[in-house]
């Protein structure tokens, strides 16, 4: 019993790091321009298909194609910004919601059209296998994904806090007008935020493909989880998203373990409602 408990705890922790990585891009974009990217989970789906096709067409393991997938998603993020987001940056919120929702529907429709609704999985990756510590089994792909997520989140934090470019990004998110007076081109910073925000999803998707099915709706649940993480961490807070990702991962697996597995996702969603009702600014968010 105790072994199962620890096993559950560990798997919740591992998936939590990945949730944090998925959510970090969402919170960054929201923090900078007050736009919620409803299609966030669907960019994850795109990244997973890229990884999958790199494997099928070129025989490249998802781990090796990760840099390419990340770069592609970075480009996709920039493209999304200039093509769709820039025109609506000052539009009413309703238009903003519908544009990113339109992207969600488009990407899902495209995936259904191109690749049908089949579930696909890469049979054997370089990461396959388990390690066991006592009673606890840890899948190597999951462990790698968690490690990758920690590294990627760490790099992002370092970039935002320590580099000039990162600080410029933070400055625009703090105060657009003041940043403009300091000579920061906020337009380019927005584009960069979209690039990085979507690229982090690219990393997450590439890591996920080693142990998860790929199908057109795969982004739906991950996207919703990302909203929960962002709300819990505080809209716009990168460090908050990191802590919240782990909490959400733990809530998911623990409610599945203690109550019933089929309801675990319900508890994650209930967590969102509880947070926005009780503490709308989240754990670390600014009011």
């Amino acid at each position: 019993m105790e072994g199962v408990f620890i096993q559950t705890l560990v798997s919740g922790l591992l998936i939590g790091f990945l949730y944090a990585l998925i959510a970090v891009g969402l919170t960054m974009i929201f923090g900078m321009m007050d736009i919620v990217n409803f299609a966030h989970g669907d960019y994850l789906m795109v990244a997973m298909y890229f990884s999958y096709w790199f494997f099928v067409l070129f025989g490249m393991d998802p781990l090796y194609s990760l840099p390419a997938v990340t770069l592609l998603l970075f480009g996709l993020g920039i493209l999304t910004y200039y093509l769709l987001i820039k025109p609506i940056i000052n539009a009413p919120m309703l238009s903003q919601i519908f544009v990113t929702f339109g992207v969600l529907i488009f990407l899902r429709g495209l995936a259904q059209f191109l690749w049908k609704v089949d579930y696909r999985m890469i049979p054997q990756t370089v990461l396959s296998g388990n390690i066991h510590l006592g009673d606890v089994y840890i899948g190597i792909p999951q462990l790698t994904a968690a490690a990758g997520a920690i590294i990627c989140n760490g790099l992002l934090l370092w970039f935002l806090k320590k580099t000039r470019l990162g600080m410029a990004l933070e400055a625009v998110s703090e105060d657009k007008e003041a940043a403009r007076l300091m000579g920061i081109n906020s337009d380019r910073m927005f584009a960069l935020a979209w690039g990085i925000g979507i690229a982090t999803v690219g990393v997450a998707g590439a890591l996920l493909t080693s142990f998860y099915y790929v199908f057109p709706e795969v982004g739906a649940n991950f996207g919703l989880i990302a909203f929960v993480v962002v709300a819990l961490g505080g809209f716009g807070s990168v460090t908050g998203a990191f802590a919240a990702g782990i909490i959400v991962g733990l809530v998911e697996v623990m409610s599945g373990f203690l109550i019933a597995p089929q309801f675990k996702f319900m508890f994650v969603l209930a967590l969102y409602l509880a947070v926005v009702f009780i503490r709308p600014q989240g754990l670390l968010g600014k009011k």
């Binding site: 309703l94 903003q96 519908f98 488009f106 899902r108 059209f113 191109l114």
Partner: protein, 315 residues
């Protein structure tokens, strides 16, 4: 205004005469679906379009209406018409329970909260044995009659029932639009703080608009259950259905009486046609077309297609 009335009478006459001229079941079915979605779109428009509260959870009311009807009929043999009333009751109860806390949330927070509620409802019904679980409920086949709300030989009775529901929804929306409630709703949409400072009880009028929206959507759920005679959680309360309602309103025109009607006339035939002509090969094509349409509309013309039709005569 007079011109509008004449146009409406012609439109209504055409809809009434249509199935008497065209007997082919496919066109009749398409029109039934158009009117069903137009009615639901009108329901969504009252809360989403007029009041400006983007709900991605309206499918939950559709599901509650469908399930109340199905459970009562399949388990207890109670007439679907009673089921329709019970469904409305539970839908309003749900609207109040959900609306009370959620309407304090602004913008995105509200939209995401409605997604969460909708998904929770879906999960509850998928795992609720009493309501058929993931398999859903098959309606018992009863003799054809109006009381039983079942017709097996022709779609014609269904056609006229949904026509009545659709026209009633349109009438309710027209009443709301012209009433004090309608003005309050638009004030809340434009400037909630300003509305509050003028003494409008914002929370209360949002709840009333949401409840009206819930009743219309729930009645459509009852109709759907009796029309298809088989319901399951994903056919009645999927997030995609809630999204379709928003799309219909956005295409036609948010907060415009005929917006959802135009939206449904564009949206449903496109879905049915891609399904028929492209089959499983074309899966997703309809989604791609609408998504492009709504992206372009949201960027270029947030007023929807209605604005193009009513150009020049706009108030």
């Amino acid at each position: 205004m007079k011109k509008g009335l004449i146009a409406f009478v012609i439109f209504l006459g055409a809809l009434t005469a249509f199935p008497l001229i065209f007997h082919d079941p496919f066109t009749r079915h398409t029109l039934i679906m158009i009117m069903l979605y137009a009615a639901m779109g009108i329901g969504w428009n009252i809360i989403g379009g007029y009041t400006g509260q983007v709900s991605f959870g309206n499918a939950a009311f559709f599901g509650v209406g469908a399930y109340a009807t199905a459970i009562l009929l399949a388990n207890y043999g109670i007439s679907p018409w009673v089921g329709m009333l019970v469904g409305c009751f539970f839908s309003v109860a749900l609207a109040i329970i959900v609306g009370y806390p959620c309407f304090r949330l602004q913008g995105h927070y509200f939209a995401i909260a409605t997604i969460a509620v909708g998904e929770i409802m879906l999960l509850v019904f998928t795992n609720w044995g009493y309501a058929g679980g993931a398999v859903g409920i098959y309606m018992p086949i009863l003799p054809e009659s109006f009381m039983n709300f079942e017709f097996h030989t022709s779609k014609l009775p269904y056609y006229y029932i949904i026509l009545v529901i659709f026209v009633a929804a349109l009438g309710v929306c027209r009443l709301v639009e012209g009433s004090r409630l309608g003005y309050y709703c638009r004030a809340i949409k434009e400037d909630p703080d300003g509305a509050r400072s003028l003494g409008i009880n914002v929370q209360r009028y949002k709840m009333i608009a949401f409840s009206i929206s819930a009743v219309i959507t729930s009645i459509c759920g009852t109709f759907y259950a009796q029309y298809v005679l088989y319901i399951h959680p994903t056919s009645t309360m999927d997030l995609m259905m809630s999204i379709q309602l928003c799309i219909i309103c956005l295409i036609g025109g948010l907060g415009k009486l005929y917006g959802p009607v135009i939206g449904a006339f564009v949206f449903i035939p496109l879905t049915e046609l891609t399904r028929v002509y492209l089959g499983s090969e074309g899966q997703g094509v309809d989604l791609m077309i609408y998504s492009l349409l709504i992206i372009i509309l949201a960027i270029m013309r947030p007023q929807g297609l209605w604005a193009i039709f009513s150009k020049g005569t706009a108030k």
